[in-house]
Symmetry: D3
Subunit: 118 residues, 6 copies
């Protein structure tokens, strides 16, 4: 199960490098802007990762959910805080979000196992 997240991390890093190497100025700036959006600002970065998680849930993108869950767990959110945020995504986005809720729960489980291993 841990391999799913590891594969995602490796693929994401490898393809991001290729995308940035393709040297399209607009795309490179977009990637910068995306990173910048989750830095401390009027809200701490931690809060904005949670916003990114719920946005990813209602837009139903598993890769985006995984990315923001990694950041959210790293930022110190508890399981109950993650579930409570995902519940907002579920109510706003409806039952069509449920398959992504399953995915999110599985990812959280893997991330906690990784933490336990240190």
């Amino acid at each position: 199960m841990a391999s799913r997240l590891d594969a995602f991390r490796a693929y994401r890093e490898q393809m991001n490098e290729k995308i940035l190497a393709s040297d399209h100025l607009g795309i490179k700036r977009f990637f910068n802007l995306d990173t910048m959006a989750y830095k401390d600002g009027a809200h701490p970065g931690k809060t904005k990762e949670l916003l990114g998680l719920v946005a990813s849930a209602v837009l139903r993108c598993n890769d985006c959910i995984d990315y923001h869950l990694i950041q959210c767990v790293d930022a110190g959110f508890s399981d109950d805080e993650l579930y409570d945020a995902l519940n907002v995504g579920l109510v706003v986005g409806g039952s069509i979000v449920i398959p992504h809720l399953r995915h999110a729960y599985e990812t959280i489980e893997v991330l906690r196992q990784e933490q336990a291993k240190g």
Copy 2:
């Protein structure tokens, strides 16, 4: 301009009453669940209103944006905090969100005028 929000509030209240009066158990329970999702839980209600705002922005629903902005202003968020949350919605959702960003800025302006009047 204030009339746009007042009209929204009046229409929303009137139609919600009619919907609940139609006595469909599933719909009534959904409305309860929706209300409950923004009550204090693992996160304070205030944080979850912000999650609802960003979810509404990326799903591009002006009425939902207005509703959550009313709640967010009521909960005490500053303009800069609202803009910083909306920026997450803009980056996640792209330029297709911009018309709704315009709408959101206008709504914030109206809400501050209402506050100024007391």
Copy 3:
């Protein structure tokens, strides 16, 4: 209130004529295919109008909701049957559907007033 639906019907008819007059073969065929999809087939047209209604609700298109509600009322569905179908749309699509549920309830009300007048 009746004027909202009348305006929709007039605008829809007028613009559809202009679209068909623009003589793009692909667009004309699409319009035929769209009409054909709701004719009696393996399911009666009546059932398929209900499918069109729920599809329109979860995709959150008020004009499409109005069009299919007109057809559904014409086909003889009761209010409770319309509400029960819309509830499926609400559960599948989430609270982001609620503004369109308000719109749908208002449209149903107008359509019943039109029926009462004969």
Copy 4:
């Protein structure tokens, strides 16, 4: 091929259990509401499974399509009835639905093989 559906059923059941065990009241109630929406009401449950199928098709969620196809086949719909409902989804949702139509056809094929085996 049958293994795809079996894997889906097993994963769905396992993760639903974990989600319900996480004990978030809002999420649990949402799951109840979701189940309730397809019970006999103003429409028989069978009709509402078909509504769920088309909603899933236009929202382009393969897991949701599979779930509702399982229910629809169980409820006794013929292949032609399923295709005719999916056609409404195709016309409403456009060619972007086609990959999900392929998925749906494959699922129907597997479900009929399961029926043949008894």
Copy 5:
């Protein structure tokens, strides 16, 4: 009818100014990136306006459709070229795009009237 587009242009300009004046660095950069995406690059800007139009059509945003139609007419596309591009949007996005097709045809009509007046 011309007033609809004039009102859109005025509102768009006024709110964009307010948004940029709110001085959120991320939002300002996003607006720059958005402008930059339609400048001559590997494709001429004219081609990219057409891409923006079809993207706006399938995402069903009338304001975005209007904005790109203004640019497309300015760039010299004929009516038939606009219809042929919109047809791609219709086939990809399905009948749910039709209300936006009506809107687009009306906008094209207004833009041609503006051109005729000089």
Copy 6:
């Protein structure tokens, strides 16, 4: 890596045959209409494949992206032209498009390898 595209081509062809063999007149006509939309018209087919690519990117459908990339590479677009079109999709659709951008870059790489092999 080439196997991903080969598997997609084989599955697509096999399922399209089954769909057309199921003999639903509406579905068959939709498939024709879909093919027709990318034939030379007011725009050359090549331009319309690019429109299809960007529409697929903002609607976030990997299979549709792959299909249009195959056509686009076949029609002679350079990598820089594909990246510049995808950038429009990224700006319009936001960071939620990024996982599909990764997928698209990988597909382009595979297609160039296939070309190199002849």
